[in-house]
């Protein structure tokens, strides 16, 4: 147990060292959501409306923060599958280290990456004229909710990565994630979607985080009469915690089951 911290830190350092040797890859990873933001803000945004009125860009940018956090699932999943397939996890498990450090190290490194990713996105948003209108405390709470979503996605990613185990399956999961993240209120108001689709979108965990964050930043688009829309703050906390409560034990069980 005494080595658990040291081992987790060694595993984290492994990821940090990888970034240092692969700066281009890191930059591309950080630039991707920024590029997406630019596409939606300038290429498609002109025709977009916000339910309840307001500037689309002010609406879009907090949604993109939530989307960036949700996308993190793919990165976590792919990295874990790679370690699994290359036998790296087998080697770690044959060593007298704390086995859980393999997952904890991944968790810390991915969270650090997400903090950096979020900072870049906030910077990009500010450069595009987006502003928060809330208090400093509200801004901090918004950042906290975004990182909480990322933390939930992280454990979902670890779990899915351990289940999938093969690069081909990862591809399919990565494709399936797109309709799931887009059936949400991050890019468009659920109020403008067909009724049934809007209902699904309103209950999407990503929508809850996006709505809560918009509210905390004081950005437009926070409206709706459904229970989910009115309780976005609660859902933005409950959803990620529920996801972690499911994915964490499942991932841990799956990891232990590697010895079966």
């Amino acid at each position: 147990m005494g080595w658990w911290l040291a081992d987790s830190w060694s595993m984290t350092r492994r990821e940090l060292a990888r970034w240092a040797r692969q700066p281009a890859q890191v930059i591309v990873g950080l630039a991707f959501p920024v590029m997406f933001l630019v596409v939606f803000a300038y290429l498609l945004g002109g025709g977009m409306r916000v339910a309840g009125g307001g500037d689309y860009r002010e609406f879009l940018i907090p949604g993109m923060f939530a989307l960036t956090m949700a996308w993190g699932l793919e990165a976590t999943m792919a990295a874990l599958t790679q370690d699994l397939n290359k036998g790296a996890i087998d080697r770690f498990r044959s060593m007298p280290m704390a086995p859980s450090a393999v997952l904890v190290g991944r968790c810390i490194a991915d969270m650090l990456q997400s903090v950096l990713g979020l900072a870049v996105m906030i910077g990009a948003g500010l450069a595009m004229g987006w502003r928060w209108h809330g208090s400093f405390g509200e801004v901090l709470a918004a950042v906290g909710l975004l990182l909480l979503l990322r933390f939930a996605m992280l454990w979902c990613g670890i779990w899915l990565g351990l289940i999938a185990g093969r690069p081909e399956l990862i591809m399919s999961i990565q494709i399936l994630i797109w309709p799931i993240v887009f059936t949400s209120g991050v890019l468009a108001s659920p109020a403008f979607m067909p009724g049934w689709l809007g209902a699904i979108a309103e209950w999407n965990p990503i929508t809850a985080t996006a709505a809560a964050v918009r509210d905390l930043f004081g950005n437009p688009g926070v409206q709706g009469t459904s229970w989910a829309a009115e309780n976005a703050h609660l859902l933005a906390v409950v959803w990620p915690i529920t996801l972690v409560a499911v994915a964490f034990p499942m991932a841990a069980a799956r990891f232990r089951a590697l010895s079966r």
């Binding site: 080595w3 040291a6 081992d7 060694s10 595993m11 350092r13 492994r14 060292a17 990888r18 040797r21 692969q22 397939n85 290359k86 036998g87 790296a88 087998d90 080697r91 770690f92 498990r93 044959s94 060593m95 007298p96 280290m97 450090a101 590697l258 010895s259 079966r260």
Partner: protein, 311 residues
């Protein structure tokens, strides 16, 4: 004391019996090869001994420590070289070794020193700072081997150490392994190649369907499977039967196989020199035109046919 003792080890996956009551003893300081085809249970055996798989029934001990009861203690005494090079492609060779040193709890300074030492020893010092993805297959495997030796293990497990390498890479890895064996480490390796077992191991056990079907030195096993074989490739397919008859009459020849598509007849022989001269005379007298005539070692397939047929 034995380095590895396995008794009545069983492991099932659904209906497949990966290990079916396997027994094996590896004396300290020896190199023991586990030879068998894909799916024979070799990897399951190594992975169980290296604490990666739970013992289902039976017993497995490494240097006297029960694998099921005290896996952590076993991990402090072993090194594992898995089927794939378990390296971080983006990191340098040195960074990989230093990370493993940290995870073996050597501490920062000793982990760094050990990484330098091992790179030197495996002739990788020149490329130690380059990313592993720039390494050749043989270099990767050598680095992987170095990583499994961070703590100077008492027993080293190698799961198909040269699978997927080109002949040059294989020779490189064999050389590295031989230098190790001189150091007194007990090595247990799995392989699909008879030649590899022959080159490296003091003793070979042949595994099939999760059990040991033969165990002995390379010479003992070869004697058991009939040693060398002679292949005759006839020019004209019509001569195949006559060639088979000539081969059958060679003193000490075993059962003759003939393959019409490739125009080959083949048989195990006891004494290759006398068999060759007999056969050449017989072929000449019968006026058979021969494209190729060769003495070769039995292939793993043939060893298997012989051993499983005999068992």
């Amino acid at each position: 004391m034995a380095a590895v003792v396995v008794s009545e080890l069983r492991k099932t996956y659904g209906k497949t019996k990966a290990l079916d009551g396997l027994n094996l003893t590896v004396p300290v300081g020896t190199v023991h090869a586990v030879l068998g085809p894909n799916g024979a249970g070799k990897s399951t055996l190594i992975r169980t001994l290296a604490t990666l798989l739970r013992v289902e029934s039976g017993r497995a001990e490494v240097t006297g420590v029960d694998v099921a009861r005290d896996p952590d203690e076993v991990r402090r005494r072993i090194g594992l070289l898995g089927q794939h090079a378990a390296l971080d492609e983006d990191l340098s060779g040195w960074q990989n070794l230093e990370l493993f040193g940290r995870l073996y709890h050597l501490g920062a300074r000793r982990a760094a020193a050990r990484a330098d030492e091992l790179l030197e020893r495996f002739e990788l010092a020149g490329t130690g700072r380059k990313a592993v993805k720039a390494y050749s297959g043989g270099m990767r495997r050598r680095l992987d081997l170095a990583a499994s030796l961070i703590i100077q293990p008492q027993v080293l497990f190698l799961d198909e150490p040269t699978t997927g390498l080109d002949p040059r890479g294989r020779t490189e890895v064999w050389g590295a392994l031989r230098s190790l064996v001189g150091g007194g480490t007990t090595v247990m390796l799995t392989t699909q190649y008879l030649e590899e077992a022959d080159q490296l191991a003091d003793r070979i056990c042949v595994v099939d369907h999760g059990r040991v079907i033969a165990d002995g030195t390379a010479d003992q096993l070869k004697a058991k499977v009939g040693g060398d074989r002679i292949d005759v490739v006839v020019h004209d397919a019509g001569d195949l039967r006559a060639a088979a008859a000539a081969l059958a009459e060679v003193p000490g020849a075993g059962a003759v196989d003939s393959d019409e598509d490739d125009r080959v007849v083949s048989a195990p022989v006891a004494d290759r020199m006398s068999a060759l001269s007999h056969l050449m005379r017989a072929l000449q007298e019968a006026g058979i035109d021969v494209d190729d005539l060769a003495v070769r070692r039995p292939t793993l397939d043939e060893v298997f046919i012989q051993l499983t047929g005999a068992a």
